[in-house]
Amino acid sequence: MTRVTKVKKNGLIAAVAIGAVVSSAVLASSAVQAAEEVNLYSYRQPFLIKPFLDVFTKQSGIKVNVVYAKKGMLQRLKAEGRNTPADAVLTVDISRLNALANAELLQPIKSSVLEKNVPAQYRHPDGLWFGLTTRARVVYAHKTRVKPGEVASYDDLAKPHMKGRICTRSGKHSYNLSLLASIVAAKGEQAATEWARAVKANLARRPQGNDRAQVKAIKEGICDVSLGNTYYMGAMATNEKKPVQKTWAAAVNVLFPGQSDRGTHVNISGAAITEHAKNKANAIKLLEFLSENFAQKMYADQNFEYPVKAGVAWHPLVASWGKFKADKINLNKIAKYRSTAAKIMDRVDFDG
């Protein structure tokens, strides 16, 4: 008998405790509406963007609240509809921005600051989204095992002399899909399929790991070249916490493919303002801040990305790889052909 009453009592306590927690959570979330602030859905890791946001808050007095997630942001925004708390979205890869725009979750922004700072090719014509940094998809090549001229273009990766010498992450990763989409845009689906099939045949191992892991594999002698984004090179070459990564970086050169034809494939990280933003003015302030010298320099120095704003100095290490010709393709085309690229990867069974 006593045992039973104890069970009941514990249950009651638990119920009260739960009620308290839930109601305080609800109160806390409604309190978010009150002060000067801006609410951000971010595809970029908090530890990457926090330094920027802290400075923004200090300068403007606007608090930035962040939810960080890579998957499901679009569905969440869509479901929340006009009541969404999100004012702005921060993301990498043009395809994500494009998907948000296509789902009509963004609103066009007129801002002379953004239009001045962001070159036209890196923003939506109606101001639905703005690029903040660019990154190039380059070839990392072993310093001695790869002879000069062996890999001058992406096409060279598909040629017989590269047999068994290439490493890459999954063909389904957005960076590789965007690269393939740029090839579809430039040369058509058929040629892109043949390219993917030939590169697959040249792989030294099944696609795996991230971009850094490929450079490590080059260092270890598993392969001679790999595909990678430029900023990883900076992150490895200056890694004081894991100095071993410096030796990986030291084993390779950065090659910019396509200098004698359409140029090296670049993608952007960018930001946009949601259709139902409640703190629109603050959100615009945040985007403008991210496009100005201070934040642009910070992107360049901390993340080794290329600032979109002209005249902002590159990190010395990034500058040491030299200037390069970027593929001038309209970024919207890359987003448009992404699904085609994903299917091509399936057709050639790139990851299999």
Binding site: V26, F47, A69, G72, Q75, A79, N83, K172, G221, D351
Partner: protein
């Protein structure tokens, strides 16, 4: 025999007439089950309207590989967990081996380690640059990877190994509970009739434990099926990877949901097939004469083998990974504590704790509803509501987000129209939404643990209590709950431990500025900053240890409780 095979259907005496349809328990069970089923139905709803049909493309390209890999993974992990789980459970229950009392609880410890964490730890030591291959190269004078062959950890075999190491405790736990509840008498009879210890195990103990083992195994299967972190890290193309590929890369959430639903049918088929094979066999204890299974002394090679069989899973599933985590965390503790480590830990504890309480309450309600009425309809709804465990977390999260946001927006629309004020989102993006999501995701754990425990209580008890005039709720409170409270603890702790590890739902559904230990691990591990990822990972494991030890005690005592209650009643 003190175990009888009861073929009488549960609660038959009270299932007559209209009473059962309007009965409070039935209605409550149905409403709760339906609520929990909404996100699963939403996923199915998404599957009905895909952006574009994917099947022709998939079937002609990667689908056969996805299916082959998925089957391979499930069969591999199934066999692995079955052998390790049942084997170790039998050894610690019936053999005197050194350290048996420690093994009893320690064998559960790998449960506290997330599969994605063990995957990155083992990759670190087993890949080319890792210490294992390094030592081999040093010893044999090899230089490049082309000089020798070494198994690739990032492979299907590697994924099977990783998942087996952290998932076998589900089978171990339920098998051990079942073995403990078996009485000496049964095996004694078997031995008297001339069966040796091995044949007694295979012909008597194993079939008796089958329902429990199958529950453990189906939990393993569902978790294997919904795993994304490990297969993504190892680039092993399972159906779950296909779900995310279609969703993220082809912008086709409906197509992704279709694959997820296909996987659901797959699980339903497996569970259905097993239940059909077992049909209406039920096993109850009908006597109070319970004696522990006898423990034999095992010596020589057999003894050493038994000891090793228990030590190896513990070593590779827990001790080594934790050692590696501690090693990785060295030098990062300072910055971890300095950051929002404590807040993350607090959030993890709160979410998992609330989820455990709610899942337990729902689990008891549903399992008892089944025992009382057990009609096909109610059974179906309850089984369906437990399927959340088999759906990849990120997909299920969308299933939770959509109906909650719909509810919020509907309330808001009414408020705007009637009162001219906007209520905004009341539930979406709150802790409440997350806890609801956790309950939907982990309900199978709670229902499974409670149902199998309730199932072993003889119906005679209900009959007696009913004859004495007790109501259903009275019987539950005064008779069943005290008997099964060990299993209730098990249910709550399982949900708690899984909640601490939960990642995909938390990431998508969380409120602003909200981190848990798992999301902290994730954000650093995704950037391959394993040093910074180690302290929160270690915290998840450390928080899991105490519940796991409690779990083991709960299992040991569950037999004690049911034994004593039988005495009380008998």
């Amino acid at each position: 025999m003190n175990v009888s095979q009861a073929t009488a259907h549960l609660g038959q005496s009270t299932r007559n007439g209209l009473r059962s349809l309007t009965d409070g328990w039935t209605i409550a069970s149905f409403v709760i089950a339906a609520l929990v089923a909404i996100p699963i139905l939403t996923v199915i709803g998404l599957a009905i309207s895909p952006e574009e049909s994917i099947w022709q493309h998939l079937a002609s390209t990667v689908l056969p590989r996805y299916i082959r890999t998925t089957l391979g993974l499930m069969i591999g992990v199934g066999i692995g967990t079955l052998i390790i789980g049942v084997g170790t459970a039998w050894i610690v229950t019936t053999c005197n081996i050194p350290g048996r009392r420690i093994f009893e609880w320690a064998l559960l410890l790998p449960l506290a380690i997330p599969a994605y964490v063990i995957a990155f730890l083992y990759t670190d030591i087993l890949e080319f640059a890792g210490p294992v291959q390094g030592a081999l190269r040093e010893f044999f004078g090899w230089v490049t990877p082309r000089d020798y062959w070494f198994p690739e950890i990032r492979s299907l075999g590697g994924a099977i190994l990783m998942m087996t190491l952290v998932l076998y405790p589900y089978v171990y736990m339920l098998a051990r509970a079942a073995f403990l509840e078996q009485s000496h008498g049964v095996l004694e009879v078997s031995r008297t009739l001339g069966r040796g210890p091995w044949r007694s195990f295979f012909n008597v103990a194993l079939p008796l434990a089958r329902p429990a083992i199958v529950i453990g195994l189906s939990l393993v299967m569902m978790e294997t099926l919904n795993d994304f972190g490990t297969v993504d890290f190892f680039a092993v193309g399972t159906l779950t990877l296909g779900v995310f590929d279609v969703w993220m890369n082809m912008n086709n959430v409906g197509g992704a949901a279709q694959i997820a639903v296909l996987m659901l049918f797959f699980v339903m088929f497996l569970i259905g097939a097993e239940r059909f094979a077992r049909r209406k066999q039920r096993f109850h204890h009908t006597t109070s004469r319970h004696k522990n299974l006898p423990r034999r002394d095992v010596q020589g090679w057999l003894g050493a083998g038994a000891f090793l069989a228990c030590l190896l899973p513990l070593f590779f599933g827990f001790l080594l990974p934790v050692g590696l985590l501690i090693n990785g965390a060295l030098g990062h503790f300072g910055e971890a504590i300095g950051g929002n480590f404590l807040a993350s830990a607090g959030n993890s504890l709160m979410l998992s704790g609330l989820a455990a309480v709610f899942a337990l309450a729902v689990g008891v309600l549903l399992a008892y509803g089944l025992r009382l009425r057990g009609g096909n309809f109610l059974t179906g709804v309850t089984r369906f509501a437990s399927l959340g465990y088999a759906i990849p977390g990120a997909v299920l999260a969308i299933g939770v987000i959509i109906p909650l946001a719909w509810l919020d927006n509907s309330i808001d629309a009414v408020a705007r129209q009637e009162f001219g004020v906007s209520t905004g989102l009341i539930l979406s993006g709150t802790i409440f939404a997350l806890v609801f999501g956790y309950v939907v995701r982990f309900l199978a754990l709670a229902v499974g643990a409670i149902e199998q425990s309730l199932g072993r209580i003889t119906l005679n008890i209900d009959g007696v209590a009913r004859t004495l005039g007790a109501s259903s709720s009275n019987i539950l409170m005064k008779v069943h709950l005290p008997i099964i409270r060990g299993s209730m603890l098990t249910a709550a702790l399982l949900v708690f431990v899984d909640g601490m590890k939960e990642l995909p739902m938390t990431v998508i559904m969380r409120p602003f500025n909200f981190e848990t230990l798992a999301t902290q691990v994730h954000q650093f591990a995704a950037a391959e900053q394993f040093g910074q990822a180690s302290p929160p990972a270690l915290a998840i494991v450390a928080t899991g240890i105490l519940p796991v030890i409690l779990l083991s005690l709960a299992i040991t005592h569950s037999r004690f409780f049911s034994g004593r209650s039988s005495e009380d009643q008998g």
